[in-house]
């Protein structure tokens, strides 16, 4: 029982991050039908914004070497502010990498490449400004909370519990917004059929901007939380999460918000189920699992089958 609980904690704490990450992908995919490959870079920027806002100093490399804000915000304030800053970056990405192509009626596939380019530019920009070194959010940022909790004999780091709780809150807030607000329903309408939504008086361009903003906010928050948990391993550290997030997106079903959550948690649990002495192969196991699921359900767990138009 204790072992099972431990496994559950291990899986859920990792899976919650994957879910949060994949939600950003999902929101953009649902309205545009393409994947925003700059999402990993925005996630990374969220981590750096959080680090700077809590009073962290830039290291010896980069154009901003030695920079430190004259204030140090508590983590709980810095995290949402970092999310907002990341949302602003996501809006810039939408304006530069997506909108010009959309306005010209280009093939949506081209946006994959422009977003990939935007992601590479952002990562290089981070490196240019703050160098390639790693940064850590100080131990003790969570105040007097203990480093780990013991629940029914299973051990879990407090930061992981926080991560799980905040991810859960964000997911719940997102669901409420999508189903209970006018803008959320407009997003659903645009994702269903952008042309009809436009005819019904919905400003599709505005809805797309909202999707990018929320996607960036979630990415920024996820970046800050992961930075708190395992430190910021340089400008490229979002890339690994980007790959895993893609897997989650496909497993859950392209464009499905509940699917992204379910996919994230399943991939996290699948990784945790890998026997400890084979844990170096967990990526292969989780992607192998994804492969098997897709053989049975090509549309993903909660995705809808794509009807072919004749």
């Amino acid at each position: 029982m204790e072992g099972l609980l431990q496994l559950l904690f291990n899986g859920l704490s990792v899976g919650a991050v994957y879910a949060l990450f994949a939600l950003g992908y999902t929101l953009v995919f649902s309205v545009l039908g393409v994947i925003n490959f700059a999402h990993g870079a925005i996630f990374t920027m969220g981590a750096y914004f959080t680090y700077l806002l809590i009073g962290g100093a830039v290291g010896a490399n980069g154009l901003l070497a030695g920079l430190q804000f004259p204030f140090a915000l508590p983590f709980w304030l810095a995290l949402p502010l970092a999310g907002i800053a990341a949302a602003a970056v996501a809006l810039v990405v939408e304006r530069i990498a997506f909108r010009p192509l959309r306005d010209r009626g280009s093939d949506p596939l081209l946006a994959l490449i422009t977003s990939l380019g935007a992601g590479v530019i952002l990562v290089n920009l981070i490196q240019l400004l703050v160098g390639a070194e790693s940064y850590s959010i100080p131990v003790g940022t969570l105040g007097s909370l203990p480093a780990a909790l013991s629940i029914a004999g299973a051990k879990v780091r407090t930061v992981q519990v926080m991560l799980l709780a905040i991810s859960g809150l964000l997911l719940a807030a997102l669901s409420i917004w999508i189903n209970g607000s006018r803008s959320g329903k407009a997003l659903q309408a645009v994702s269903e059929d952008p042309v009809t939504a436009q005819l019904l008086g919905i400003n599709s361009a505005r809805v797309i901007q909202i999707a990018f903003g929320i996607s960036g906010f979630l990415a920024g928050m996820a970046g800050g939380l992961v930075g708190l948990s395992i430190s910021i391993a340089g400008p490229y550290f979002g890339i690994g999460y980007g790959l895993k997030g893609l897997g989650v997106l496909v497993l859950g079903g392209l464009g499905s918000v509940p699917g992204a959550v379910l996919g994230g948690l399943i991939i996290g649990l699948a990784e945790a189920c890998v026997p400890a002495d084979l844990s170096g192969y967990k990526d292969a196991v989780s992607f192998g699992f994804l492969f098997l699921v897709l053989l049975v359900r090509p549309q993903g767990l909660l995705g809808r089958p794509q009807a072919n138009k004749v």
């Binding site: 704490s13 390639a132 131990v139 395992i230 400890a276 170096g280």
Partner: protein, 414 residues
């Protein structure tokens, strides 16, 4: 039945043929260009050309930053003392990233620039990939930080100033057992996709077995892993009182932090991958107490080391947040540059570099490198005919973090 290519129209065939011809001509021109570079005289117009390929980006960047400082200090010292018999050394540094393809590209680029010798790459894994390029092109490569078994064996032109794991790693295990003879259960972690980690863990596990401590668990990770909750909780179930890590700085630092946060209080021995003060910001206060065997001590009282430590402290004085005590990787990189500089000076006296064909100069330089004895910050070193470093002094240090856990030092153990 259709003939092969029977559906290809004639103009397209002509275009294909001309494209192929152009491609072949370009390839021939490139290879000819490469041959000319290698066979022409050494280009001394901007100084005596030496190159370095360091991991300045990616997850090993923390090592590359340390090494860059060491190489630049050594270059300044060599040029301050007259360079290569009056000719200044000219250094070009390329970022080899933290992966093999980027290191291969950087090494090829440096060689094509006509350098006489190369320092790097940073990681053993990269040297196993890029070393054969230097060997094939006949360029002396001095590895400043590769500790995996088999690096000098890549070929005649490959040497290293970093003593291999099999020499150093067992010292820290012995010290841990000396400090706590009651240790009975060892847990081992290593990155299974990293050449350094896989080589070093074998040495560690052999050293443990030799002391009667068969590991109770061996946990495998991957180089880019940052979350180790699963591996740690599995290891802690075995109730270890010694944890031995063969990991790089970033993943190792994270693992230590998570290990301590999850309640482990026993001894921790780490390998050479964590031999850098850059681990302090990662594991912070949890770095305190870890044991590490080292090939360099800042406290070594030799003129060469005193000059080096003074130069390092002076350079770092500009940044008060950085420790004035040099780390091992910086000392080893300094040494690699010193070895090349001194060997070049000897070669130039024997056979003036001016007008010497590049390929011949590189070959003669390799012989000089292997034949010399060097008074370095690491102490006196020389090389075996295979290019393996022969070094006298090794040390075991314990990390001591300052109050607040933001900075620390490697404190030598008697």
């Amino acid at each position: 039945m259709l003939r092969s290519g029977g559906l290809t129209p004639a103009p397209m065939k002509r275009r294909l043929a001309s494209s192929l011809a152009a491609l072949l001509s370009a390839a021939a021109a490139l290879s000819a260009c490469q041959g000319t570079e290698d066979q022409g005289p050494v280009n001394l117009s901007k100084g005596v050309p030496v190159g370095a390929v360091l991991a300045l980006t990616g997850n090993a960047n923390v090592y590359g930053q340390d090494q860059k400082i060491g190489i630049e200090l050594s270059l300044a010292a060599l040029n301050g003392a007259g360079g290569v018999n009056g000719k200044p050394l000219s250094l070009s540094i390329e970022d080899g990233g933290s992966a093999e393809p980027s290191a291969n590209a950087a090494v090829s680029l440096q060689i094509n620039r006509g350098i006489l010798a190369l320092i790097g790459p940073t990681l053993s894994q990269q040297s196993f990939s890029a070393g054969p390029i230097a060997q094939r092109r006949g360029v002396p490569l001095v590895a400043p930080s590769n500790t995996a078994t088999g690096i000098p064996e890549i070929g005649y032109f490959i040497s290293r100033v970093s003593a291999q794991s099999s020499v150093i790693a067992p010292l820290s295990i012995a010290k841990a057992l000396q400090l706590n003879p009651g240790i009975r259960r060892a847990a081992v972690f290593y990155a299974q996709d990293d050449a350094y980690s896989t080589a070093e863990t074998v040495i560690f596990q052999q050293a443990l077995t030799a002391k009667g401590l068969k590991p109770v668990t061996v946990q495998r990770t991957q180089l880019n892993d940052q979350d180790f909750q699963s591996q740690i909780t599995a290891a802690l179930n075995q109730k270890p009182d010694l944890v031995v890590l063969s990991l790089q700085a970033m993943d190792g630092g994270n693992l230590i932090r998570q290990l301590r946060e999850l309640g482990y209080r026993g001894a921790i021995v780490v390998g050479n991958g964590m031999n850098t003060p850059n681990i302090y910001p990662i594991c912070q206060k949890y770095c305190d107490g870890i044991l590490i065997a080292q090939a360099y001590s800042p406290e070594l009282q030799t003129p060469a080391n005193q000059r080096f430590t003074a130069a390092f402290a002076a350079a770092q004085a500009r940044n008060p947040k950085v420790s004035p005590i040099p780390p091992q990787l910086t000392a080893q990189a300094y040494t690699a540059m010193q070895v090349i500089g001194e060997a070049l000076a000897r070669l130039d006296r024997r056979q003036p570099l001016k007008g010497l064909p590049l390929a011949q100069a590189r070959k003669a330089l390799m012989a000089e490198i292997l034949g010399g004895t060097y008074q370095t910050p690491l102490g006196e070193i020389r090389f075996t005919p295979e290019g393996e470093v022969i070094q006298k002094n090794f040390f075991v240090a314990q990390v001591r973090m300052n109050a607040g856990g933001k900075s620390g030092r490697f404190s030598l153990l008697p």
